[in-house]
């Protein structure tokens, strides 16, 4: 490993150093604001380092990691999301817990794990990243230690551990057949030699199980609504965006080594997952009475949409996934940001009834929430519109008309429940006229930034598309 390799790893090193520093500090001085600032500084430094190393990429660092445009883009996205989640958490944790400081350590570790996942080109680094992410999430989900959040944490722990076992077994089987754990070589060996395809298929199936769990695609989605509901709102935001996005990016990188479309069995498997997730997520969301559960099922459907682009094969494929994930990150962070902002000390504001008449009590928050819902539904002027357009374009380019039609149909189903929330927010309520509590400062700031980004991505997506195209070329 050369010095340049180390410099290239600086973003990861910095994001790993931050929790260590905070941990030492907590040993002799506890202060919420200081921890919060250090966390922000750590993420910010890592982000700057990312910018600094951009002339040196793409670069492979040992057999384990690769820092190419694709990885840098996603690390940037993950860091930015971590930044926003930190902002949302500060007010949320203030006064809610006697020891809020460890939350930030866990958050930084989870961010580190996700960053490693998107940069890995080897099963070993992937698995390490995944475990760092998962273990921090167990604690984060249960952090508020009320009944719901502990249930969610345990549920996530059991299922994540089981799925990790599946993943490991799958990796082992693939290793058994190909003799390597490097993505690029796996692809090459599968292409070049006759393989015992049954073992390979079993390995791949188990791997898909493990990854499917993280992505929460149907039928591996069971944990999602409960964990979304039980976890503290900022953590839900993190699970919905960073944890899913990182694994999806890895899946993308892995799949590029082998052409999915030539392998018909894999294609059918992913197409089935996609269709099931779209229908399952959207139909189940129709019956929910809680905002976080609605968003949970909606996120399942969105992963299904994403898989349509994942299954396509043309020029648009990688940019579509990258743009959609960016839009989805901004939108979901915004949506959960609203929930975070409105939640009180005792519990999260979750029941749909509590949102009745929100438009007339807190017009700006309700406006921001509507914007995120419109973005999830793919209505113009929002990031989701361009994102959905990209997905349909990628599907159309590869002539996956059936999948595109199912996507279109599901968008219409999705409208039902997004509109329902908006209608409830705009209805009259008895609570009208009651002066609203002051909103916390940091959370409001984060929300304003997210709302502006949401509109900006929808109206003027050109700079972001520029970045995506230049980054996507490297993979």
């Amino acid at each position: 490993m050369s010095a340049i390799d180390l410099i290239c790893m600086l973003p990861l090193i910095l994001i790993a150093a931050a929790p260590v520093v905070i941990m030492f500090l907590l040993g002799w001085y506890r202060n919420h604001l200081l921890t919060f600032s250090l966390t922000l500084a750590g993420i910010l430094l890592a982000f700057l380092a990312l910018y600094g190393i951009s002339p040196m990429i793409p670069r492979r660092i040992t057999g384990l990691l690769i820092l190419d445009g694709f990885a840098v883009f996603f690390i940037g996205l993950i860091l930015a999301s971590g930044f926003v989640v930190t902002f949302l958490s500060y007010d949320y944790l203030k006064g809610r817990k006697e020891h809020p400081e460890e939350f930030y350590i866990l958050l930084l570790l989870a961010t580190l794990g996700s960053s490693v996942i998107v940069a890995s080109q080897h099963f070993a680094s992937f698995f390490i990243g995944l475990e760092v992410l998962s273990v921090s999430l167990y604690a984060l989900i249960a952090y508020t230690r009320n009944e719901l959040s502990i249930e969610a944490g345990v549920k996530y722990l059991v299922l994540a551990a089981a799925s990790a076992a599946f993943l490991l077994f799958g990796i082992a089987l693939i290793y058994l057949e190909t003799g390597t754990m490097e993505f690029s070589q796996i692809g090459a060996r599968i292409a070049s030699t006759e393989m015992n395809s049954r073992v390979l298929l079993a390995g791949t199936a188990m791997m898909i199980t493990g990854i499917g769990f993280k992505l929460a695609v149907v039928p591996f989605h069971m944990w999602t609504p409960d964990v979304y509901e039980g976890a503290p709102a900022p953590v839900t935001a993190f699970v919905a965006t960073v944890s899913k996005g990182a694994v999806f990016a890895l899946l993308m990188r892995y799949s590029l080594q082998m052409d999915i479309r030539t392998d018909s069995s894999l294609f059918i498997v992913f197409a089935t997952l996609s269709v099931l997730s779209m229908f399952g997520g959207n139909l189940l969301a129709l019956f929910q009475g809680k905002v976080k559960r609605i968003l949970a099922y909606s996120s399942i459907a969105h992963m299904g949409y994403l898989l349509v682009a994942f299954l396509s094969s043309g020029q648009m494929r990688v940019p579509a996934v990258m743009y959609y994930l960016t839009a989805y990150f901004v939108t979901s962070l915004g949506a959960f940001g609203v929930v975070t902002l409105l939640s009180n000390k005792e519990r999260d504001m979750d029941s749909l009834e509590e949102y009745r008449g929100l438009f007339w009590r807190r017009p700006w928050v309700a406006g921001a929430f509507s914007a995120t819902l419109f973005s999830l539904a793919g209505i113009p002027l929002t990031a989701g519109f361009i994102g959905k357009f990209y997905l349909v374009a990628a599907g159309a380019e590869a002539s996956l008309w059936l999948l595109v039609l199912i996507l279109v149909l599901n968008s219409a189903i999705g409208l039902f429940y997004y509109l329902r929330v908006i209608v409830i927010m705009s209805a009259r309520s008895s609570g009208e006229g009651i002066p609203a509590m002051r909103l916390p400062l940091t959370g409001s700031l984060a929300l304003i930034v997210l709302a502006v980004l949401l509109i900006w991505l929808g109206v003027f997506p050109r700079p972001v598309i520029d970045i995506i195209h230049s980054m996507a070329g490297s993979i």
């Binding site: 007339w360 419109f374 209505i379 113009p380 002027l381 519109f385 357009f389 349909v392 374009a393 159309a396 380019e397 008309w401 595109v404 039609l405 279109v408 149909l409 968008s411 219409a412 409208l415 039902f416 509109l419 209608v423 705009s426 997506p461 050109r462 598309i465 520029d466 195209h469």
Partner: protein, 513 residues
């Protein structure tokens, strides 16, 4: 630059109305009115400037045009252009916008600022639809106009507003997404043929493709347009949405939103897929004729006054569909006149029903009757627009329907005959409506105030414009004729090709020209 202003003025006006509405309820009304008046003046100025020019043959297709890059990586640009057809529709948009702001002056008392914000943004979206020459931009505006309209219905509507709003939104959104699939199909075929990936209308015009693909993509476009129009059997959202919407919402829905469907067919579906258009024309004309009869018969069966007017729209839009697919110059001229006149006459009827409901809190015709005695001014206006709606010679609607029938006659005598009976039924429902509402025995004795000066002014302007179009439609025909000719060209060339390749087939449709 003028075109961008036409769209941004309502957008900015809407935002200002919302912000100022938080201080005082009167502000939003005045701000919206002034913004729309400016828009109207701009559109009129464009008309005035280019009026002679339009008549001159051999000029470029667009009166005025803007083309700014938006997302160049995907070949998307802000390409706006205006020809005679879009000019007329832009005028109609501003005109009906003003009418609906004035008509809802006293009706809306809650959340006035947000109401006007939605009204203005919906108008801006419609204006954008009429001016877009980039298919992505077109789709963008197409979707943009829905959200505010959804809010207008869901928040300020009548009894079953949420149901109606959701139904409206899902119908139009789903069909819009199918159009997006069609747009993208076209985009990639053009890209694969030429290597240039672009959404630009003029470049996509000459895309060649296999006839199955052409039909499929056209179907995507067509579904979006016939849902909006609406044609049988995609019309079920319309009676609900029109009935439940507040007056201004109904006026914009009937007067403008339906027209975006007709405009889309004229501007996009036919010229982009001429082959498929020829193949589909007989079917579409049959649906048009059925729609005329069906809408008229159902209108006759209604007791809810607003629902009645809504069903008449289905009937009148049947003429539009018939005319568009008859495809000759007479029919298309008729379609344009019909679009304008239906917008004005139905808009006026909705304003009248709204005014009536504001006074007697009911739309039920069974509870009305004898209203002429208490409010003769409203009775007179109602009679006038009822007669206009049944197609009385001398008023604009007659010109439109007559020209459509004349044009359709050259293509199919049977369908024209069927469509013409629709005129008879429309006489029955229109007179029935007048009879039930204004004459006959009094259902109950009430003192109801007659139309105010504000309402009379609205009615007066609308009466005048209908009479003008009815007596002297020539300026409108001149304005539209060149653009209709250009739109028809593509279809005609394809037709000619087909004739050359199949000399044996004796086609009935001979295009006079």
């Amino acid at each position: 630059m003028m075109l961008i202003l036409l769209i941004t003025i309502p957008l900015v006006g809407g935002v200002m109305a919302w912000l100022l509405g938080r201080r005082d309820q009167r502000w939003p009304r005045w701000v919206s009115l002034v913004a729309l008046l400016i828009d109207m003046v701009l559109a009129l100025a464009l008309w005035g400037r280019y009026f002679d020019w339009v008549n001159l043959p051999g000029n470029g297709a667009w009166l005025t045009e803007v083309n700014i890059e938006w997302i160049p990586q995907l070949g998307i640009s802000v390409h706006l252009g205006m020809d005679g057809l879009s000019l007329l529709l832009a005028l109609l948009t501003a005109f009906l916008g003003i009418m609906s702001v004035v008509a809802s002056w006293t009706e809306i008392q809650e959340r006035v600022g947000f109401f006007h914000f939605n009204l203005m943004w919906s108008l801006a979206g419609i204006m954008g639809v009429f001016l877009s020459l980039d298919l992505f931009l077109f789709y963008f505006f197409w979707e943009l106009m829905l959200v505010p309209m959804y809010f207008l219905i869901a928040l300020w509507g009548h009894e079953r507003r949420v149901y109606a709003a959701v139904k409206f939104f899902i119908f139009t959104q789903l069909s819009g997404l199918l159009m997006l699939a069609g747009i993208l199909g076209l985009y990639f075929i053009h890209g694969q043929n030429t290597g240039v990936y672009t959404f630009d209308y003029s470049q996509l015009l000459a895309t060649s493709m296999s006839s199955t693909k052409g039909q499929l993509f056209m179907l995507g476009f067509l579904i979006a347009f016939v849902v909006k129009l609406p044609a049988i059997p995609f019309h079920t959202w319309l009676p609900d949405a029109h009935t439940e919407a507040p007056t201004a919402g109904s006026v914009i829905l009937a007067g403008l939103l339906l027209k975006t469907g007709a405009y889309g067919m004229l501007r996009f579906a036919l010229p982009l897929f001429p082959r498929a258009a020829i193949d589909l024309a007989p079917v579409a004309m049959v649906f048009g004729a059925i729609g005329i009869i069906y809408g008229a018969v159902l209108a006759f069966a209604q007791t809810d006054l607003k629902r009645l007017v809504a069903y008449t729209s289905i009937s009148h839009m049947g003429f539009v569909l018939l005319g568009i697919f008859a495809g000759n110059e007479l029919a298309l001229q008729g379609v344009v006149i019909q679009i304008l006149c239906h917008g004005i006459s139905t808009g006026a009827l909705f304003i009248l029903v709204g005014a009536l409901q504001e006074r007697i809190q009911s739309r039920d015709m069974l509870r009305m009757g004898g209203l002429w005695a208490v409010m003769p001014r409203m009775g007179g206006a109602g009679l006038f627009f009822g007669l206009a709606s049944l197609g009385l010679p001398g008023l604009g609607n007659f010109v439109g329907e007559f020209l459509v029938l004349l044009g359709a006659y050259q293509v199919s005598i049977t369908l024209t005959a069927i469509a013409a009976t629709g005129l008879v039924i429309s006489t029955i429902y229109a007179l029935w409506m007048i009879q039930r509402t204004f004459f006959g025995g009094r259902a109950d004795e009430r003192r109801v105030p007659d139309l105010t000066i504000r309402e009379m002014a609205v009615m007066g302007v609308m009466v005048a414009s209908l009479v003008w179009i009815g007596i002297y439609p020539q300026p409108i025909m001149d304005t539209a004729s060149r653009s209709l000719e250009t739109l028809r060209k593509n279809v005609q060339i394809t037709k000619a090709d087909e004739k050359m390749s199949k000399p044996m087939s004796s086609e009935v449709d001979h295009v006079s020209h």
